[in-house]
Amino acid sequence: MSEILEIYNYWIYIVLMMVGFYGVIAKRNLIKQAIALGLFQTAIFLFYISMAVVDGGTAPIWVAEGVTKIPDPLAFPPAYDNPLPHVLMLTAIVVGVSILAVALAIIINIRRAYGTIEYDEIAKIEREMEVREAQEAAQ
């Protein structure tokens, strides 16, 4: 039981990532795919943040007001969680929402052009257009 709990976080992150992955490859709706991509992304964030945790560690803020003794950041075992993954994920979240926004903008434009956001229907329309163009070229 305890062995499972020790890597439980990693399993949950795999579950989330695979749910997102399934959404991206199985769903035909473009908005659903954008949301699923977000799930995939968050799973990776979870993975990084889980790796940063240390037993008995606390938030990596070197000193709080009223604390006279600062735990040594270089001590072992570390008194603080590792701040580096936090920094990486912090910026990644905001970049992630920018990606989502650009994706949604493109989806809105696709909807204006094709009248649908289901990509198999878009593919069908495109095929029909190609056939029509080929016929026109042949004539």
């Binding site: 890597i7 977000g38 701040p83 993954p85 936090h86």
Partner: protein
């Protein structure tokens, strides 16, 4: 089993269930709301893992902004996924199952959760910690510490109390002397010498040996100091990425307005007629704004910074637009202003870098901003940089919202 782990397990289980619901629910509005709930749960998990800055950002971005963006998009598209004969795509399920099994096999070799011996913690090399804590050793740019400088000793220094530090160091010096004397003479003489020597050493050290910049304790939040100093270039370009996202939204969706043409009144404008919404919104907005400004400007002291504060500020404006309508938001924050400010933020960030170069340092070497006490240059530079990030993030989020909510051109 610790309570933290227990809370964690339950929360993570909820997160996983929500994720499956997000992907499987057919109504897209429901999927958008569920993804907001998913983000809030995730933010809780991260608070539990002591990652305050990330939790902040996720709550504001995932729970607030991306949900609004999704709903804003759904207004222009469809409410539901198309119906399909079979709901489960077996091929995709097989691929994900195989990939998942491979990853699970990989985790068996992972260090256990919270293991202090994990490689990631071993790589916390002292140089990195020293650099982020901002040891500038009195020089105008980052240099190796003087011989005999022991970071361990120096890091015990409380904020800005050079004298306490000096006394501690003197005490240690005396302990060493005491040992020497104990080896040479009797114990009694040694104690007297210690008491005498301590006062003398403390006064001397406080005056000369320990300039306040020797240890830069002014940036206690290591996340911010890593963000703005250790990974300063990365953060600058990430800000540029956000700026370019805003720019591409404008290019993709903004339509040219004839001069004098006004935004059409939208349905959301009617929400202002509801007293509860109107009053609560007006009550909340000042607090959200103050909190956002606080989070940006106190990023180097506590949890917070430009990214977090920027999104919090943006939510205040978006809330205003949701209740009173976008024409009203345009009256308060014109499109032209947000466009310009998004660029100003990036310019402020890179401008600080250029300024440090002109002052004779390296790009983004904050120590040169205050040559007389380089230790204080760090917090100053980081605050400026965080403001740059905050301005860009806030205005780009407002721009993105504006563009996604823009009426379809007929």
């Amino acid at each position: 089993m610790s309570e933290v782990l227990l809370i964690d397990s339950v929360l993570l289980l909820l997160v996983a269930v929500t994720a499956i619901a997000v992907v499987e629910v057919r109504n897209l509005y429901a999927a958008a709301m569920l993804s907001g709930i998913y983000s809030l749960l995730m933010a809780l998990v991260w608070v539990n893992m002591h990652s305050m800055d990330v939790a902040f950002t996720e709550a504001a971005v995932g729970g607030g902004i991306s949900t609004i963006l999704l709903i804003g998009t759904l207004v222009h598209t469809e409410r539901e996924e198309a119906r399909r004969p079979s709901r489960i795509n077996w091929g995709a399920l097989f691929v994900t199952a195989v990939t998942g099994a491979a990853l699970v096999y990989g985790t068996l070799d992972m260090p256990r959760f919270g293991d202090p011996n994990a490689p990631i913690h071993k790589l916390r090399v002292p140089e990195m910690i020293n650099q982020t804590v901002g040891m500038t050793s009195g020089a105008s740019s980052k240099q190796p510490p003087p011989p005999g400088y022991q970071p361990r000793k120096n890091l015990e220094l409380p904020l800005g109390h050079g004298q306490v530090f000096a006394m501690r160091r003197a005490q240690k010096a005396n302990e060493a002397r005491l040992d020497q004397q104990a080896a040479g003479h009797g114990g009694h003489g040694g104690v007297a010498a210690t008491e005498h020597g301590e006062t003398h050493e403390a006064g001397h050290d406080a005056a000369h040996a320990h300039p306040s910049d020797d240890f830069n304790g002014h940036v206690p939040n290591s996340v911010t100091s890593l963000l703005a100093a250790y990974r300063g270039y990365d953060t600058m370009f990430e800000t540029a990425v956000i700026f370019s996202a805003g720019a591409s939204l404008i290019l993709l969706l903004r339509r040219r307005r004839r001069p004098g043409e006004k935004l059409p009144d939208q349905e959301s404008a009617n929400m202002a007629d509801q007293v509860i919404l109107r009053v609560m919104c007006k009550l909340f907005i000042p607090f959200i704004l103050i909190f956002g400004l606080y989070v940006i400007s106190h990023g180097e002291i506590g949890p917070g910074g430009g990214f977090q504060g920027g999104v919090i500020l943006a939510t205040a404006f978006i809330l205003y637009a949701l209740i009173f309508g976008r024409p009203e938001l345009h009256r308060v924050v014109p499109e032209r202003l947000t466009d310009v400010l998004a660029a100003v933020g990036v310019l402020l960030y890179s401008g600080v870098g250029v300024a440090t170069m002109l002052l004779g340092g390296k790009f983004l070497d904050y120590a040169v901003l205050k040559p007389e006490s380089p230790g204080e240059g760090g917090p100053l530079g980081m605050t400026l940089v965080e403001w740059g990030v905050g301005i860009t993030v806030c205005t780009v989020m407002i721009t993105i919202f504006n563009q996604l909510a823009e009426e379809e051109s007929k």
